[in-house]
Symmetry: C2
Subunit: 565 residues, 2 copies
């Protein structure tokens, strides 16, 4: 036989939650079996969740993952699914040095079969794998009903050489790679171009299976795909949703038959959805049903509130307006309109009496007095978070966080910051997109996203608008003193965001920035702001390390670690 059916199980796992991840693998395996799949493939580190950071170092966790894989193989066989080849990611142990390994196993005929260990361990950007794992040192080709399937894990196809290069002359029929590839704007093209190169290198079609969902501060977009030997797109799974798709591979055909190709969202929808999915999964994996945040009437808190309503429904959003003596009437109205549009809870807590009580004791001036206002608001938001059991959201955007244009323990409080990686200009752009999407019929909660039923258009506000137009159009202000505007302290955002992108994202130094064409005064202003902000951020406690392992730097356990053994 020279034809097999592969099921692409693009699922959302949870770090440390072996039970839930295993249950999901069984569920998708049953569905794949019912559709006569030969193979069902799951993402990198399916069983353990990904990325698991230092949880990998706990030996009892590795043992539990091993036991769980065996238990699943048994269950599948008992249910009559023994003949299915279930490809799952998990954790192994290096018998040489005792270090963990990032492993792919196959559950088949009641056994845990054929292990492949990830060869290239990424250690740049958000990745820390070289620190945790040891490298596999051999390539693996599975014989699945006569079809030769080479396997790889994520980074293995991003580097030249290694196990994929070793397969180039092995006449394989298919390259199957399982991935935990985090979302980045525009990364989809990079992945397909790379995969096309590897398909050519091994002279076979490639299946690229990616994880979906938010995990801690990463978002995985899914968008799994299959390319033919010549790079032609045969299948694409949707972005941001769990999915089970199928592809038939017939080794006797020169070109494989196309399967379903999901449409891609437009660029603004893509980024907006990534932010909402990150928040939604952060809430789900940490057990939060609702959120609270301060609503200032400004654009940042408005966009965050809209994202929150899209993630958990307006009825689970607790907005607090906290006007001071410097808040304009317009701001208060905009905050109220927003809450109405979102059908969010809304309360007003004026901070003036509290500010006066503090000032009677402390008599602060200047920045200290401005920070006091923001910190009183922080206390109120956290009080709501504690008493209601809801997650506090921080509303800072990337431009203001980069420049330190926020108050530590003030407006910066919160357990999750949905727009911390969006420049201010992008905040405006996504706000406009969200209103445009509403105009085209996308109500609150109507995003195409994990957990949303297909065809659910969401709840449309009576006004037809999500974010008050006034919040988008007016000049931004922190309103911490009379007549204050962001532009008093910062360059115009159009310019600022360009300098920040070059300085932060591309590590351009002063000379580089001037060569980029920015004027010297602006460069010096921005560099001073960013470096000062870096320093301000350290108002969160550091401390000395005096014993083998301290907290912080070297205890990198993920938060949503559900493993309790």
């Amino acid at each position: 036989m020279s034809s097999i059916r592969i099921a692409l199980a693009q699922i959302d796992t949870s770090v440390g939650n072996l039970e839930a991840n295993a249950a999901k693998v069984l569920d998708y395996s049953r569905r794949a079996g019912a559709q006569h799949a030969t193979v069902v493939a799951f993402p990198e580190m399916t069983l353990t969740g990904y990325p698991i950071e230092d949880l990998a170092l706990r030996a009892t966790f590795r043992k539990a993952a091993w036991d769980k894989a065996n238990e699943m193989a048994t269950t599948l066989e008992q249910e009559g699914l023994g003949q299915l080849y279930v490809v799952v990611g998990t954790i192994g142990t290096d018998h040489g040095n005792g270090k963990p390994r990032n492993r792919l196993v196959v559950l088949h005929n009641g056994q845990v079969w054929a292990a492949y260990d990830k060869h290239f361990l990424p250690n740049y950007g958000v990745f820390d794998e070289f620190r945790i794992f040891s490298s596999g040192d051999r390539s693996v080709v599975l014989d699945i009903e006569g079809v030769q399937v080479g396997v790889a894990i994520c980074e293995d196809i991003w580097q030249d050489g290694g196990p994929v290069a070793a397969m180039a002359n092995q006449n394989i029929d298919l390259l199957l790679t399982i991935n935990g590839s985090p979302y980045e704007e525009g990364k989809g093209h990079v992945r397909t171009e790379l995969a096309a190169r590897r398909a050519a290198e091994v002279n076979a079609p490639i299946v690229y299976l990616n994880q979906v969902g938010g995990q801690d501060d990463l978002v995985f977009d899914g968008a799994s795909f299959v390319l033919d030997t010549d790079g032609a797109l045969l299948e694409r799974s949707p972005m941001f949703m769990e999915d089970l798709s199928f592809i038939d591979i017939d080794t006797e055909l020169e070109h494989q038959q196309q399967s379903t190709i999901a449409a891609m969202p437009d660029p603004d929808e893509e980024v907006y959805t990534a932010c909402v999915l990150g928040l939604k999964d952060y809430m789900a994996k940490n057990g939060f049903k609702g959120v609270t945040l301060g609503l200032s009437g400004g654009i940042d808190s408005a966009l965050v509130a809209a994202m929150a309503a899209d993630a958990c429904g307006g009825e689970n959003v607790w907005g607090i307006s906290m006007p001071s003596m410097y808040s304009s009437d317009g701001s208060k109205d905009d905050a109220a309109d927003l809450a109405t549009n979102l059908n969010a809870h809304y309360e007003i807590q004026p901070i003036e009496p509290l500010f006066k009580a503090f000032q009677q004791q402390l008599d602060l001036q200047g920045v200290a007095a401005e920070n006091l206002q923001a910190r009183i608001r922080g206390v109120i938001v956290m009080a709501k978070s504690n008493s209601q059991g809801v997650l506090a959201l921080a509303t800072g955007n990337k431009s203001e966080l980069a420049c330190g244009y926020s108050t530590i323990y003030g407006d910066a409080v919160g357990g999750y910051a949905p727009i911390k990686d969006l420049f201010k200009t992008k905040v405006w752009q996504l706000s406009r997109w969200r209103n445009a999407a509403a105009a085209e019929g996308m109500g609150i909660g109507g995003l195409h996203i994990v957990g949303n039923e297909q065809g659910n258009a969401g709840v449309m506000p009576e006004s037809g608008v999500i974010i008050p137009v006034n919040s988008i159009e007016k000049a931004p202000s922190a309103e911490l003193r009379p007549g204050q505007k962001d532009s008093d302290s910062l360059p115009e955002y159009n310019l600022l965001d360009q300098v920040l992108a070059a300085y932060i994202e591309h590590a351009h130094g002063r000379a580089d920035l001037i060569a980029d064409g920015f004027d010297e005064a602006t460069v010096d202003t921005v560099m001073r702001l960013v470096d000062r902000a870096e320093w301000k951020r350290r108002q969160y406690p550091l401390g000395p390390k005096v014993s083998a392992l301290a907290f912080g730097r070297d205890r990198r356990l993920p938060i949503t670690n559900a493993f309790r053994e």
Copy 2:
């Protein structure tokens, strides 16, 4: 000629501050030259400071470091010190892949001479070097006036194989290793045992030169040393102080002559001094002249205040007593006594009026009301920090941080947490040691530490006691509700600290902890507390990553980065 004099320049550098580091290298080189040294050796990454994390990735910084090394070589020659061999650590660039390298260069005869690049790049615990640097691939033996000096950088001697192994048959006369080895309790013995093994391996004496001082959340203890071929101790520099020591190496002698051997502090003094040095250098490198903190009358804030007074003098410590309706008279008296002993500024800010103002609006119950008290205190401490320009200190210890027994944005506020890596039992132990040291004549500021003049005994309090005995002896309480005691929520600290050490420092899982002999109920309590605290700590904002580089995980610039190009 077969005899050379080596100067061990154990200095305290500052990350990113090329000017200051270069000035210090020149100063010590002049002093070494005046004492007829042939070679003067400085620590790992002397010029750049260490660890520099992502600053290494900025090309303009690497260029500036290269220019500075050349400028120094020229200056040394112009001053008539061209014949001196000045061994300094710096940063280089890999001509193959453009990645930074951790480099050792020799300044000699006006040139930057003979580069050796670190081979083994540690990537465990606090180290991240594999992420940043590429590896050197050759060993280097310097011919210094006929004496064959093999060189290595830090981790190169911690791993078997590599450049040191390559020197085993090269008949070298001396192995010189420059280091940035962070302090850990009891690490001194580990270093000397390891160095003795390497001396035997290369059949030559070994010079182990270490950095001293605090940098971000690491403390380097210095304690450089020289061992003879047979492992005999020939020289030891003091811990926690800058130092210039000399050793003569005569290749015609079978055993080298001993030089000065500094005395070592006792174990409690060692840990206490490490904490004070960490704080002192954090202040110096971030430009803080004073500190502020809440003084509750309890042992944690008392020990932190004593450390602060030892770091910067009691006159630069601003203590704030913030009693509530639940604070005992004893606590208030203990706080006042402490301030008197330390000659610290002391003010009283009762929180009851502020608490009432909030409660009139919010009417909080239970934990939310308890947290409100702590957060009002946090606002007051930060107001003092902002208006006075002083560093806020967090007073949490490792036991309570591990168990989440603190309020986020409340007592946890501050820019530096001097005792965050000390278990509660150690807090008591060090407090007793500090009083005992005072009884033996060590006044405030009298520690043997970077920047303290030799023979300065410090200022003795009139009472002869630093920390009020009552703060040490009484049962610990957060005093957030009537009659509250830590033991209501936590196991007794003697037991708790043992379980925490096994769980956190040795990654023992539940089964391991029970096998360690701890009873099941205690193990479950502690695991639940620690895992919950891990979750609570994430009330600091995370957010999704949607672009090439975000903040947080992948912007790991060190704080005390003084480089502004």
